[in-house]
């Protein structure tokens, strides 16, 4: 266990209304994450990985229980406060990259910085650093449609990392990538985790991803089934 807990999840329950009834996607999750973890939520489709990740990312609210992220209780945040948490401290990586198609690589990576108070030269330096981390400094002016899937996901990683957030949430980041590209982006993220001490939490059922994780949390039907820690 790392020294300082940045996420504490207590008895977290999430129910979704469906038709007249309800569906319970998370049935009482208890988890803590420390700074610098490289952890993954592992489980078959429908086990609740995305739901849990969304709540940690303050994109969704717990129905019952508590999720405290970086000292903030998610269920008590206003829309404005949760937006502030996301823009300052969280990075997201999605399965389908979610890049802005009409913008260049540079502008895509710069985008999160525009919501923060950086000067233009500061932003330029930060974007170029982030592109350096993912090895895309030669594609600054390209637009997403001109890039391969692997390159797109690397732009997305740079976008998530550019502001050096405390926590990056990656939902099935390799689902659309081939093996070589999957390993490439995982190594990139592993390096960033080591160098910047950024906490990474994945949601995945991809064996390639699982191989890189230092902590594996197996979800089953909305509950933590068991955990594995890799110590080196």
């Amino acid at each position: 266990m790392e020294n300082s807990a940045i996420i504490q999840i207590n008895q977290l329950i999430k129910r979704f209304p469906i038709g007249k009834g309800e569906f319970t996607a998370l049935k009482g999750i208890n988890l803590n994450f420390g700074t610098g973890e490289f952890a993954g939520l592992i489980g078959p489709s429908g086990s609740g990985k995305t739901t849990l990740l969304n709540i940690i990312g303050s994109l969704d609210m717990p129905t019952e229980g508590e999720a405290i992220v970086l000292g903030k209780s998610i269920s008590k945040l206003s829309a404005k406060e949760s937006a502030k948490l996301r823009k300052e401290s969280l990075g997201f990586i999605f399965q389908s990259y979610n890049l802005l198609q009409v913008h260049t690589v540079f502008e895509n990576v710069e985008f999160p910085l525009l919501l923060l108070d950086y000067t233009t030269p500061e932003r330029k330096k930060m974007v170029m650093d982030a592109l350096e981390w993912v090895g895309l400094t030669d594609k600054v002016k390209s637009k997403p449609p001109q890039l391969s899937g692997g390159e797109c996901q690397r732009v997305a990683i740079a976008r998530a990392m550019v502001k050096k957030p405390s926590l990056v949430l990656a939902d099935e980041p390799t689902a659309n990538l081939d093996a070589a590209n999957s390993h490439n982006i995982l190594q990139t993220m592993q390096n960033l985790n080591r160098e910047l001490k950024t906490t990474f939490i994945f949601a995945t059922h991809d064996e390639k991803v699982i191989g890189y994780l230092k902590r594996k949390i197996f979800l089953k039907d909305g509950l933590v089934d068991h955990e594995e820690w890799i110590t080196q």
Partner: protein, 391 residues
């Protein structure tokens, strides 16, 4: 905010054909509205100008009995020319006129006409009164083209004119049409016969009398003089204002339809793009935008249609406007209905105010129409938007 504009601009351009269709329709509305408004302003300006030059000068004095809409008032609408007016008349800065009801008999038919006496020597008004000095054994008279057409008279025609003098006695004489003039001012043309003022005063047994005066200078503090009350240019052109107002109201319906079409297209585009771009909306929220900020982003994007349309309108509109202002526009209308011999050619006048208001109105309506569908974003659940699940 800069990024919002940049993003909006890129997204719009990225949307391709659809954007351009919207922008073309909107720019067309822009150009047509400014042009039509410009024509009206030009028309107003020109009609008042023509009226000033042909009929009223900078204003008139009317005998207090005179009412152009009541023929029965004419008989009593005359008085001696006030001595105060004489210096001005002598300097050619004021034109006295004497009116009477009369009848002409072209080809044996009887046709009522207003006989107007005007000094042949006047140069204040454009009516070619110098022709009234023509040598002929009949009374020289001039008429406008509409009158010429309706009475089948032409230059050189002779016709009997009958009138009643101030004692109530009927008298008649032959007149010769010495000139036919063309004007866009119907009130000096339709059913009007112009003869020399002195002849008129003599025939009516009203020496030194007049019905009204047109004057050249507006600046003096004028007021009622004796039996004659002041009519300013503003009073006298009130009818033109009324006509322009009616025309404007008629055109407004057209503007509304034009704008409505453009707005419908933009509204539709907004709905579609919000539906199609749910993932993008979710991404903005994940990156730290509040949903209100995303609403603003999409509103700016929709409103950008107006900015692009204004730019496009400028590209083809400005040359068109300049060309129109140069060659003018012949108003397609039934000229006889207005008592005009020729359709007037309108030279549109575009004021900065006109262009700015039109731009502002278009920008505002476009913003509202863009905001309307974008409001939905504020109610979206970001996780569902990210999954693209919203129906």
């Amino acid at each position: 905010m800069k990024i919002a504009f940049k993003l909006a601009f890129r997204n719009l351009i990225g949307a391709g054909l659809r954007t351009w269709l919207n922008v073309i329709v909107l720019s067309f509305s822009f150009v047509v509205i400014i042009w039509m408004k410009g024509i009206l302003v030009g028309w107003d300006h020109q009609a008042k100008n023509d009226m000033e030059q042909w009929e009223i000068g900078k204003g008139q004095f009317w005998h207090k009995q005179y009412d152009p809409y009541d023929a029965f008032t004419i008989t009593d609408s005359h008085a001696s020319i006030p001595s105060e007016f004489k210096p001005e008349i002598e300097r050619g800065k004021m034109v006295p006129m004497l009116f009477a009801q009369g009848t002409i008999y072209p080809q044996g038919r009887m046709q009522p006409a207003m006989i107007k006496g005007i000094p042949a020597s006047q140069t204040l008004l454009k009516i070619p009164t110098h022709q009234l000095d023509s040598e002929t054994d009949a009374i020289p008279a001039i008429i406008g083209e509409v009158m010429a057409r309706s009475s089948h008279l032409e230059k050189g025609s002779r016709v009997v004119l009958r009138w009643r003098d101030s004692k109530g006695t009927f008298d008649a004489a032959e007149i010769e049409i010495v000139d036919v003039f063309s004007t866009t001012v119907p009130t000096i043309d339709v059913a009007q016969v112009w003869i020399n003022l002195e002849t008129m005063q003599e025939k009516l047994l009203l020496p030194e009398q007049a019905t009204l005066f047109s004057f050249a200078n507006a600046e003096e503090n004028r007021s009622t003089v004796g039996d004659f009350s002041l009519k300013t240019k503003k009073d006298l052109t009130a009818e033109i204002d009324a006509m322009i107002k009616t025309k404007n109201a008629g055109q407004s319906v057209f503007y509304v339809i034009l704008l409505l079409l453009a707005m419908l297209a933009i509204f539709d585009t907004q709905i579609l793009s919000i539906f199609r771009r749910q993932k993008e909306i979710g991404t903005y929220v994940a990156l730290g935008y509040t949903r209100q900020q995303v609403v603003a982003l999409f509103t700016v994007e929709g409103a950008m249609h107006a900015v692009l349309a204004a730019a496009l309108a400028a590209v083809y509109g400005i040359p068109f406007f300049i060309w129109q202002a140069k060659v003018g526009f012949t108003v397609p209308m039934d000229t006889s209905e207005f008592g005009m011999s020729v359709a007037p050619v309108m030279y549109p006048i575009y004021s900065m105010g006109l262009i700015l208001t039109t731009t502002l109105i278009v920008l505002l309506t476009t913003s509202v129409v863009s905001y309307w569908p974008a409001r939905r974003i504020a109610k979206m659940n970001p996780t569902e938007a990210l999954r693209g699940k919203i129906q």
